[in-house]
Symmetry: C2
Subunit: 251 residues, 2 copies
Amino acid sequence: MREQPPYRRFAEVLRSRIENEEWKPGERLPSRAQLAEEGGVTTDIVRRAQEWLITQGVLTGRVGSGTYVAEQRERVRVVHSPEREQAGQAPFYVDMAALGRRGTSESRTDGMVPATPDIAARLGIAEGDYCVRTSYEYLADGKPVQLLTSWEPYSITAGSLVILPETGPLAGAGVVRRMAEIGITVAEVEERPDAGHADADEAHLLGIQKGALVTRIRRTYFSDDGRAVETADIVVPSALCEIIYRFPVTR
Amino acid sequence: MREQPPYRRFAEVLRSRIENEEWKPGERLPSRAQLAEEGGVTTDIVRRAQEWLITQGVLTGRVGSGTYVAEQRERVRVVHSPEREQAGQAPFYVDMAALGRRGTSESRTDGMVPATPDIAARLGIAEGDYCVRTSYEYLADGKPVQLLTSWEPYSITAGSLVILPETGPLAGAGVVRRMAEIGITVAEVEERPDAGHADADEAHLLGIQKGALVTRIRRTYFSDDGRAVETADIVVPSALCEIIYRFPVTR
DNA sequence: TCGAATTTGTGCGTATGTATC
DNA sequence: GGATACATACGCACAAATTCG
């Protein structure tokens, strides 16, 4: 085993000082100049050590302010299972109720937008066909933990009371319940998770570091006649949410 | 919108030259010195541009050899659904059969190992209790696409013929089938996907870039009496595999 | 209210390491 | 074994954001 470079050695020094609670979660570390001085290294070594610990989730940096010990918020467990989908409310609220947390959301319907090639393929409609797009920010105990953007084909809900997902008596009821209202039975759900990094906007909305690991889920609901009735992009930050799929092994 | 830095501008130059098929997938680019010369930039700008395109999946670097246009292999679709689990073979082979590809695997049983705290918690056994650990490398048409390490409590399979997963007549049969052989009914599966990066070993085994995005799945099978009978760590590289969860919305 | 000082973040060039041919 | 090519580490300069007087 070869020797560790200076910045990694200094990172371990910082890590052990944090583990000894010299600085507690949420507290600010001394400036790079001070740490470099007392550690007998250059400020650049300190910077790289902090960079490394930031990617490890030990520290967080705030430009112009300082470097802080990361507060490890408990990860919210969201369980994706057949049972969760059948409740008369959006899946996220089912999860929060199960955890004894207060689940809320802020939504903004962007109105009708033409389908991009990707969205058209996922919904099985023609490119340019209109969809109702809605953006959500899901909060657990008031803190954001997930982002979601959904698209519904205009042709399905046109003229009905549920055309706008988050207005009227069925706000927050979830796709399954809302579609049932207009005579459509949602029978199946498909989720395609993929690893990715948070962009600047997502990081800002979620209160996490830019570039932090996220799971992006492309979810599509299908009716009993096989038509796609809704598709959504879900951003699940690894630091805040734990995703669990649970289903039976049929026999 | 502010101006792009030089390395990003040069990255776009390279990207457009690749899109114009000046260099085709799998081909080697000129050396950094040559690209820098003809582009009127420093070799460092070329290096950063290539680094950026590597993270974007456009290029791959091979130390000592050169920088190559990435060959975008078709992503293998692995569908995690209740139905897939009931077949009498390992889930991966079911996927490959559905895709018309040749699914194979290489495995190595490490024998009995004491359970780490994490594994013990997942299997509901005491820390230090013995498990049979087995490592797999799954191949599609001979190329590696997934890594898997499984742990089974020794207490469950002790004395039976299925104690070693990949020997005997039930090699490759999958956990559900093997447990059935010793009178245990596997009733439920739980999967916890999380975003991550490939370490050097994983990258080497999978033939991908170190640090490439992967989804790590912690999978556990439960018997009908609620006991955990197997748990596994699965590494799914984003560039090679597309994960799909599909299940009914029960009613 | 505003501006200067402080602190973190980004970009770049050089030197060195390491794998390949 | 030498030459070549990419990868890593480091130091410096400057930009961006915040803080505080």
